[in-house]
């Protein structure tokens, strides 16, 4: 990879922002201490953790609440699900999520299903919106938790979280709501003073913060039981030594994302419109996966390029120093087609040639021009040698 490459895979990860890195640095070496009471070194770090928590709560409109720092979004979702179910009567517990939720929700749900817990995975429409009628119909006396991935990590669907919460809480306000906000924080306003979310989970590396950081924001942690045990320094949920530079990093990245959200939305939305316009004008036989532009997340574009395979497209772009992602089974480590594309009704062939283009601060319209210029001949040559394009493209 050359130094100047075009990165269109921001939903996979984002670069750590230099300013955020600078704020983390002292806590790696000079101020390497861990939190403690009374001593000057220990209390300094305790204060750093408290400030970081407060900054995160404030960024989401809360004055009080609990912040549990984790190693990422996956551990955050797992801590909530296992923590809520630890002492539950699993045979009389009911969990709800949708078929397009993140695997860090679906896999723990699968684990409880095997243990006898009732699990409902809601269907979605063809754009990935959760079926609200199904949600209404599925709520029962045993329902304990409803989980929602706010912005879909493959097709950029922004769920109608407010409506989902209203349906659930009107039925029974004791049902807990877990919202995975990992892909949402950059572009969607999340105001917890307005939204009755019980647990919001975050990931640092998706918002220009450090890898290996995440958080659970718990409105009230009393329902949550610890599931990891050891020496408790500050949080009973995550015993052991804290990742102080990481805590500073994710807190700074949340502040940065929330403070710059409007600018981010404008920036990405401009490029998204430009990209989609160029794709539609220059590449034939493509289908947009997910909601239309204007409705979907501003930093997500996902196309199926018919008659060709995604790993081939991805590799040819890689040779040109352009980074994208694909939903092709050939490119996945388990040879399975992307489950989200399947859930919205795309067949194997459509998923086979899908590419996900996710935008960020560093992208420019000029980069999009270069991307399209490189993509056109790649699609042309792969279609020329494809077994199925000749039949259908009339070549």
């Amino acid at each position: 990879m050359r130094e100047e490459y075009i990165y269109l895979d921001h939903y996979r990860t984002t670069p750590l922002k230099e300013e955020i890195f600078e704020k983390m640095k002292p806590y790696f070496n000079e101020h390497f201490w861990l939190p403690a009471s009374f001593t000057s070194t220990g209390t300094e770090i305790s204060e750093v953790i408290e400030r970081s928590k407060k900054a995160i709560l404030n960024a989401f409109g809360l004055r009080k609440g609990n912040v549990i720092f984790t190693s990422g979004g996956t551990l955050a979702n797992n801590l909530v699900i296992h923590g809520l179910l630890r002492d539950a009567d699993l045979q009389h517990t009911h969990l709800i999520a949708s078929k397009v939720d993140h695997l860090s929700i679906l896999k723990p749900y699968g684990y409880y299903k095997k243990k006898g817990t009732k699990v409902t995975l809601l269907n979605t429409d063809e754009n990935g919106y959760v079926a609200l009628d199904e949600l209404r119909a599925s709520l029962t006396r045993d329902t304990r938790l409803v989980a929602i991935t706010y912005v879909n990590h493959t097709i950029g669907t922004v769920q109608n979280v407010k409506e989902i919460i209203d349906i659930v809480k009107n039925y029974n306000d004791k049902i807990m709501i877990l919202v995975d906000g990992c892909e949402a924080v950059n572009s969607v306003k999340i105001d917890l003073s307005q939204l009755d979310i019980d647990f919001l989970t975050l990931s640092g590396h998706k918002i220009y913060g450090p890898k290996g950081t995440g958080a659970v924001i718990a409105r009230d942690a009393k329902n949550l039981k610890p599931v990891i045990f050891g020496f408790v320094e500050t949080s009973p949920y995550t015993p052991g030594a804290e990742n102080i530079p990481g805590i500073v990093g994710i807190s700074e990245s949340v502040k940065f994302a929330v403070e710059n959200r409007e600018r981010y939305v404008k920036h990405c939305s401009d490029i998204q419109h430009y990209l989609v316009d160029k794709m539609e004008k220059n590449i034939s036989d493509i289908v947009l996966n997910g909601p239309k532009i204007g409705e979907r997340a501003v930093d997500n574009v996902n196309y199926s390029i018919r008659y060709i395979e995604g790993e081939s497209i991805t590799l040819f772009l890689d040779f040109e120093d352009i980074v994208v992602a694909t939903g092709s089974a050939c490119a996945s480590s388990d040879l399975k087609v992307n489950y989200i594309l399947s859930a919205i009704g795309r067949d194997h062939e459509m998923a086979h040639g899908s590419i996900r283009l996710t935008l960020g601060w560093d992208n420019t319209k000029k980069q999009i021009d270069v991307f399209i210029d490189k993509l056109i001949p790649i699609v042309e040559r792969l279609r020329k040698q494809s077994t199925i394009s000749r039949v259908r493209v009339g070549g």
Binding site: E309, S328, A329, C330, D334, K336, H348, Q385, R390
Partner: protein, 211 residues
């Protein structure tokens, strides 16, 4: 995740595949695989005096599939038909400097395409009938075409298939996986697909068992 990458030779063949395209009025032609479940390859043959005078292929597939198609056509062009029949995906993979186990599955298809095109030539031009007797041995041979992506061996050699019985058109297969095996679904689908092609099998009872 282990580092999974292609050799320079795979990349070179993927970038500049040899013998891509179609042959008009081929002596043998076959399409294997299906867009409904993955890659697809078509192989065209021109045979002259029992030799492969020309061979071309088309691929709706990934880099491993395209590169194997390319190397296989290069390995067999000019060869006698009997020699070409003996080419295995293992040889093709070795020619390419090796393939990651998870990608062998995609490369087998290209070799299957060659074999199927030769079969088509033999049936069409030489009138040879390929009516194999469908028995348990035949079914095991077919199962040996299915690659276990974790190790790159076939599923029989990888000892996943624990029991097999074929009687009166009813086929029972017992297969085992580790709890964490992420290729389970993939292997089960492949078995369904391969067994679905054998019309003598009226009913397939595919059981996942613990061992």
């Amino acid at each position: 995740m282990a580092v999974i990458k292609y050799t320079d030779k795979v990349i070179e063949h993927f970038k500049n595949p040899r013998n891509v395209g179609e042959i008009e009025n081929p002596d043998g032609v076959a399409t294997v695989g299906s867009p409904a479940c993955g890659d697809q390859v078509t192989v065209f043959l021109k045979i002259d005096n029992d030799r492969i005078k020309d061979i071309k292929f088309l691929s709706y597939g990934c880099a491993s599939n395209i590169a194997t198609g390319s190397i296989v056509t290069e390995m067999t062009k000019g060869k006698r038909v009997e020699e070409a029949k003996k080419v295995t995906w293992k040889q093709a993979s070795e020619e390419l400097g090796g393939l990651p186990p998870v990608k062998i599955h995609c490369s087998v298809l290209a070799v299957d395409g060659l074999k199927a095109a030769i079969k088509n030539y033999e049936e069409k031009k030489l009138g040879i009938k390929h009516n194999a007797i469908v028995d348990e041995n035949y079914i095991i041979e077919r199962l040996e075409k299915i690659i276990y992506p974790k190790t790159g061996e076939n599923i029989v050699a990888a000892k996943l298939v624990k029991y097999l019985k074929f009687e009166d058109g009813n086929l029972t297969i017992e297969i085992t996986f580790d709890e964490t095996d992420k290729f389970k679904q993939n292997v089960l689908e492949e078995i369904q697909e391969y067994m679905g092609e054998i019309k003598e099998i009226r009913k397939l009872d595919l059981r996942v068992v613990d061992y």
